[in-house]
Amino acid sequence: MMPDGLPLSLPLIRNCLEGIVPSVLATADPAGMPNVSMISHVQYVDPEHVALSYQFFNKTRRNLLATRLASVAVVDPDTDAQYRLAIEYVETQTSGPLYEVMKAKLAGIASHAGMQSVFRLLGSDVFRVRSIEVMPSRVVPQRLGCNLLSAARRTCDQIGATRDLGDLFDAVLAGMQQHFGIEHAMIMMHDQVEGRLYTVASRGYPVSGIGSEVHLGEGVIGVAAQQGVPIRIGHMASEYSYGAAVLDSARAAGLDWPGDTAIPYPGLDAPQSQIAMPIVRCGKTIGVLFAESPEPNQFGYDEEDALSLVAGQLSALIAVLQEEEETEPAQVPVVPDAGEGREIRMRHYAADNTVFVGHDYLIKGVAGAILWKIAGEHAASGRVEFTNRELRLDPALRLPEYAENLEARLVLLQRRLAEREAGIRIDKCGRGRFRLVVDGPLALEDV
């Protein structure tokens, strides 16, 4: 029992399970001979379970498989509060969400400790916690931090007031800055057909990176999306760095640097802490809410919990805004309106729906196909107003029926057009409707 009468439970001591101060693990062989070692971290799994990283087949490992019981002493890195857990081996996981969570955390610890070549996760050993006891220590007062529950509530209140998907994305990032003190963050949506995530909103970077992409499984964002589980890292590790991953995959594919059709990923050059929260709807990852900091160990278990509330609310609001848009009756007004400025040349590559405006790359994929379709109709008939619904039903756009996020594509397209100052704009003009505004006549070339 804690001194104040609350039962001592694993969720109360999670700060000891961040891998900031090493833990002490004691095991015994079948004859009762003890073995003791320092271990890099103990992972919180749920209120009844922890996991240890299986990195080497050593004496500890042999003992655990033989006698299953262990004792682990853990330390709170902020207060020096110390606890001893009696644990019992349950199973080893060599893939899946827990394994990926621990792999990312271990990579950060190894990078920080200069042990990249030594630490390698072979498996996650899961243990049931049989008991927790306090080990007396000199406890230092904890510094006052952010009230995370209040921050989550205030952010959720704020984002609930938005009526437009782009505004919703921006409000989430503004709320994280204002209430959590998170200065660098972005929202990426999941393209389930291409297996990629694309940036729809960012905050705190010199360039927005709207439209930049990350592949599934790449970095903390790609792993979080792939596994549907939050991924955190307290010290940056090269194998989770995007620049390196993008270059490596380009080289592995025999390509030169992708050049002018790649929108640069906006992330920090030298991040230390990163957290990627999957945005989940009906069990599927539809996007990732991502935050990072140049300071180490900024995102702990509590930050993860608080941001998961925000990500959950974000998912629900995305669904609500989409439903609202879909209930708007379709109207297809035709307003003859030719821009009077300079001619705008657009080139479309059908292979991947890449669109250039002038000599500059603008967009590709579904967003490129949407732009090409509406630009074509505009050039042919002068039509300027379009509905989300007709895009959704257009077989030429090949939008998958399931969960594919048309509205997010429109936000992406709208923002890319605005950033590139292409002389083309998309303005919302009612629920589920938007207007194409061009500064000059369009000259279209299909390649």
């Binding site: 004691a26 073995n35 003791v36 320092m38 001893r84 400790a113 220590s137």
Partner: protein
Amino acid sequence: MPRAPEPLTPEFDIAARQAAQDDGVLTPDLEDHIQSGISVVIGVAGPGMAPVATVGCGCRVLPNGRLRILLMRAGNETLLDMVARGAGIAATFSRPINHRSIQVKGMLADIAEPTPDDRALAARQHDGLRRDLIGINYPPAFAAAYCAVNEADLVAVDMTPDAAFVQTPGPNAGAELKR
């Protein structure tokens, strides 16, 4: 786990042990290491007794070759009871600035009353650990709390070393150190 500015590998101690002309479990160099004011972590177990982990505060090599390991009594009552009932003890001695880690095990262990010298030695050795922790960027307030020694509460476990192992991270970690 902070970065060690001068990391060692297990090979350092394996080679040094093989080169030493010494039949004991611990060479003078290893005795110096374990008494040098570094991290001491302890595991106790015995036949029919589940293992228990704790942290120690220091170590002295006794004139008879046994090791006196110093730890706090508070919070270690179960562990001390196990030693009294015949449990064995393992202690790993690690230097944070180079990760050099040596584990010593013994099945013969007894509880002893620390002398005033032992109490002062524990405070001195733990102060050495405190300085090392600050040296690898632990916050000074944390390092001071972690290395605080309540001299009045110290207890000693004397053990006969049966075997020593290198635990420095790297290839061959866990190898027994013997001639």
